[in-house]
């Protein structure tokens, strides 16, 4: 079982991103459960979405407390809550940010970091900071757990139409191409 926790803010599409990713993974033959966290649907408030993937049927319909991967689609939500809470050793962290790795605090458990300046790209593509599909591209690039083609197909099957679909397909590809992936050497405890 591989557990992914998506963090964002209300209005950015963290829940939708979970749904698209789930559809793409199912198309590749995986079992997937995507459960959003439940708050008041308020723009700007921290929100999370939980996604489990496995080669066999997944029975638990619960939140995720020990994620293998944290996918953060907002640049500042990490200041409001601890997005790394419970992350497993050798974990993966994907972050929307304009900063280089050297300016970020990476917890000891994280072994792989994928960074994408998704806000800048989103402003270019959508004229609004909608980062979810960009970060799905970043996820595919960083983890290799889902192909860009499957994500593309999932988007085409979704409710996006015409210009909106075109923009999101562009965002997906941009996120994939414009992500830098960093492997962190295991640090020796001081």
């Amino acid at each position: 079982m591989y557990e992914i926790r998506i963090h964002g803010r209300g209005g950015q599409g963290a829940v939708l991103a979970g749904g698209i990713l789930a559809a793409a993974m199912v198309n590749e033959g995986h079992f997937v459960v995507a459960v959003p966290s439940f708050g008041f649907e308020r723009r700007g408030a921290p929100v999370a979405s939980f996604l489990r993937m496995d080669t066999r049927e997944i029975r638990q319909m619960t939140n995720i407390y020990r994620p293998d991967c944290v996918l953060c689609i907002d640049p500042t939500v990490g200041r409001a809550i601890n997005v790394f809470d419970g992350i497993r050793d050798n974990g993966t962290w994907l972050q929307t940010t304009a900063k280089p790795l050297s300016e970020l605090q990476v917890p000891d458990q994280v072994a792989t970091v994928g960074l994408c300046d998704a806000v800048t790209h989103a402003l270019d593509i959508f004229k609004r900071p909608i980062t979810n599909t960009l970060m799905l591209g970043a996820f595919a690039r960083t983890t290799g757990l889902v192909s860009l083609d499957s994500l593309r197909a999932a988007l085409e099957d979704s409710d996006f139409r015409d210009a909106g679909l075109k923009q999101n397909l562009m965002a997906l590809e941009r996120g994939y191409n414009e992500t830098t992936v960093h492997k962190i050497e295991k640090r020796v405890a001081a």
């Binding site: 459960v35 439940f38 638990q60 319909m61 939140n63």
Partner: protein
């Protein structure tokens, strides 16, 4: 066993609310009346979309509140239509007067309760308290574990409701949040399969509006003493018979579903790893998956633990529960709601009542979790298993345990 029809289902990814809307579409419902309320809202949005897209050929009636929702559907049902709605929490409360009237009128409709904890404090999150608050009104109530079960059970609900020996309304309960918004892979049966399973709506002509045979429905039976109350007694007794008949009809509907669609769900109760079990968990709804995982973990440690899931809650499958739990030493019943009268969970009350009929009666304790959207995780179930194993050892029944109190 070979299926009569070749399965032609296709896989989709959807949440429980969309699954219910697909079920309504496949069941060829004639009339839907709706008022949106969290966490049901997206369900009626899907229905509106399916009608607009031409997938669902139904009259959709937007009304000013839930009282009118059910009143409109009473009219539709009396005219012979297959009808549907969904609600929860405060919406169900506002619907209560026509909700009370529905089973007595022997109206075969299906209504989803997208379960939500009740006020107050303010809560828009999941919990079974709304459905539990109406457990003695006379509706059939079935609880779903998975998104797939939501889809399948909503269609099966019509077969049960419209059966001649039943003619009662059915609530298909799916957990707010965890099932309403939880998305998984779902097998969508083909229209041919559903048509083979579910015949056109069976009108209850005993209580139908027929211009050729005008009559009043919902009569006053007469004053105190004598034939008036005696008639009332016959109505009530008939209603109770219909509920009891439903047990066999629910089993038959699930069997037909397995035969035609190729997917089998336990109709009344499901026993999971109960062979040789010394202790058992009893669960309801979407919590069951985490419960089964916790049972697997305990079994891997060599512990003889099993789980009994209650699918059909009303009518309560008394004999099936007694059989399933007979022989274990201790039982832990996990409720997602409370009984204010008993300081325990309502399912716990039902289970200990049913255990009166068990050949060997185990000790039982009540656990309450998952209120107002709280999670019931495998760790929570692990703690329940530990406590129930202690109960099996010493027989000391403790106070009700509140699982999320210290989360």
């Amino acid at each position: 066993m070979s299926a009569v029809l070749k399965p032609k289902s296709k896989a989709i990814v959807c949440d429980g609310n969309e699954a219910a809307a697909w079920a309504v579409t496949l069941a060829r419902v004639d009339m839907v009346a709706v008022y949106p309320i969290t966490p049901q809202s997206s369900l009626v949005e899907y229905l509106a979309k399916f009608v607009a897209d031409g997938k669902l050929n139904a009259e959709i009636v937007d009304v000013e509140g839930e009282h009118s929702v059910l009143s409109v559907l009473h009219g539709g049902t009396l005219a012979g239509a297959r009808t549907y709605t969904g609600t929860c929490g405060p919406g169900l409360a506002f619907m209560f007067e026509p909700y009370l009237r529905t089973p007595g009128l022997r109206m075969p409709m299906v209504m989803s309760i997208v379960t939500r904890d009740t006020l107050t404090p303010q809560s828009v999150w999941g919990g079974h308290q709304d459905a539990m608050s109406v457990r003695e009104v006379g509706w059939i109530q079935m609880y779903c574990e998975t998104v797939q079960e939501v889809l399948d059970t909503t269609i099966m609900g019509y077969k049960v409701a419209e059966h001649r020996d039943v003619m009662l309304p059915v609530n298909v309960c799916h957990d707010g949040n965890y099932l309403s918004y939880g998305a998984t892979r779902v097998e969508l049966p083909s229209q041919e399969e559903v048509d083979a399973f579910l015949p056109p709506p069976a009108t209850n002509w005993h209580a139908a509006l027929d211009p050729d045979r005008p009559m009043a429905v919902d009569p006053l039976t007469g004053g105190a003493g004598g034939p008036g109350p005696a008639m009332f007694v016959r109505y009530r007794k008939g209603q109770c018979s219909g509920m009891q008949n439903a047990l066999a009809v629910i089993e038959a509907a699930h069997e037909d579903w397995a035969r035609i669609v190729g997917r089998r769900h336990a109709p009344l109760v499901e026993s999971y790893r109960m062979e040789d079990a010394e202790t058992a968990l009893v669960t309801l709804g979407s919590m069951t998956g985490a419960g089964k995982d916790a049972v697997d973990e305990a079994r891997a440690r060599g512990e003889r633990v099993g789980l009994v899931k209650v699918k059909t809650y009303r009518p309560f499958p008394v004999q099936a529960i007694a059989r399933a739990l007979s022989g274990v030493k201790a039982v832990g019943v996990v409720d997602r709601s409370v009984s204010f009268g008993w300081n325990s969970g309502p399912l716990f009350q039902d289970v200990i009542g049913a255990l009166q009929f068990a050949a060997k009666r185990p000790a039982a304790m009540s656990f309450i979790g998952g209120l107002a959207g709280a999670d019931i995780t495998t760790d929570h179930f692990g703690s329940v298993i530990e406590r129930v194993q202690a109960l099996a050892q010493d027989g000391q029944v403790g106070e009700t345990v509140w699982l999320n109190e210290k989360d």
